[in-house]
Symmetry: C2
Subunit: 213 residues, 2 copies
């Protein structure tokens, strides 16, 4: 019985890692599609979103079944509780990658990135990809230090988010309302992606320490 229980918990962890890996692929492709106006790549991100949603649902079912059958305690209970919440965050991260990909597709064959903002969006995309990769590592290796790596990356993202608005409001962009809308939304999507990575990190922090935050 105990062995079956440990197997269920391992499966829960493996599934979390699996979903996080799909999120990493999605944000990598979305960032590239956005930078290079690649409509085909954007489509691949959009298609992956439903897969992530279905896997998150299966993960929730597994977590609830563990609660029902095994009545876990201590760190086992914390893993199950945090899984239920991380699945939502991972799903949202896939959604946000999709939103970035959709911006690229809507504007195709034009670029969704206004002139003068390419460099900063390329940096925001790179940070998001790094955060997604750190989330995979955190879920797989369960090393508490990775939590801080994710928080530090998020600080860099927030700085760029503020800078996008400065640029949008100061530049010759003013002449192009579509560019202003796209830049505002894209920057917000990147920033929220980072926030959800931090949510996952907080849930793992809770798993490690037992302290809710």
């Amino acid at each position: 019985m105990r062995q079956v229980f440990q197997q269920s918990l391992s499966e829960l962890q493996e599934r979390l890692v699996g979903i996080a890996e799909l999120v990493e692929t999605s944000i990598t492709e979305a960032t590239q599609a956005f930078a290079t106006s690649d409509a085909e790549l954007a489509e691949s991100v959009i298609e992956r979103t439903e897969e992530v949603e279905a896997l998150a649902l299966e993960l929730d079912e597994l977590a609830i079944n563990i609660l029902l059958r095994e009545s876990p305690v201590a760190s086992d209970l914390r893993l199950v509780v945090s899984s239920l919440r991380m699945s939502s965050s991972l799903e949202r991260m896939a959604d946000l990658a999709q939103h970035i990909a959709q911006l690229a597709r809507y504007r195709y064959p034009e670029s969704a990135i206004p002139q003068g903002l390419r460099k900063i969006f390329s940096k925001m995309g790179a940070i998001d990809v790094e955060m997604a990769s750190a989330v995979v590592t955190l879920l797989r290796e369960q090393e508490p230090e990775t939590v801080n790596v994710i928080r530090d990356l998020d600080d860099g993202l927030d700085k760029r988010h503020a800078k996008v608005f400065e640029k949008v409001l100061s530049d010759k962009l003013s002449a192009n309302p579509l560019g202003v809308v796209d830049a505002t939304l894209a920057s917000r999507y990147h920033e929220r992606f980072g926030d959800h990575a931090v949510s996952v990190a907080k849930q793992m922090q809770y798993f490690f320490s037992g302290e809710l935050a």
Copy 2:
């Protein structure tokens, strides 16, 4: 023992209702502060956000304690699991109300709403307030029909969200990049507020039916 358990579940429900009521107050005040450029009212919304956060944390602690001590099953387990997720949604709704209030405060004494968009934002705000009120009713009365009320309201919100972009891109707004940024963000905040109300509705749907979605 059974009696203590039922008391804990009632307390969980009451606390959910309490948090939802604070969210309703916040979105009501945020909408008014945004419409009338009332910096003082905006401040009251911003201050309430921390209170909601603290209450959501306490709710999570209670839910986890119930899982640990009572090993609930069937609809009792579903209420506890859905509470853990609804607390996140309610917290995000308070955050989004705060973001709307912050837009009003940043632009004070100017209006954050560009000319020509006052009517549509007033409607979006009214729908958000109605959704928050329906969430309170859903959590208090636990009537399955309220789920559909919330979904229908969200459809109206999504239509207006699309319309804001049409207007932003077609109007004389083009001359004012700050107005374009504000309108884009405000519309997105209103739309996301509605999405989180739908998330709460979905969680209650799961509580009623046992079907995850």
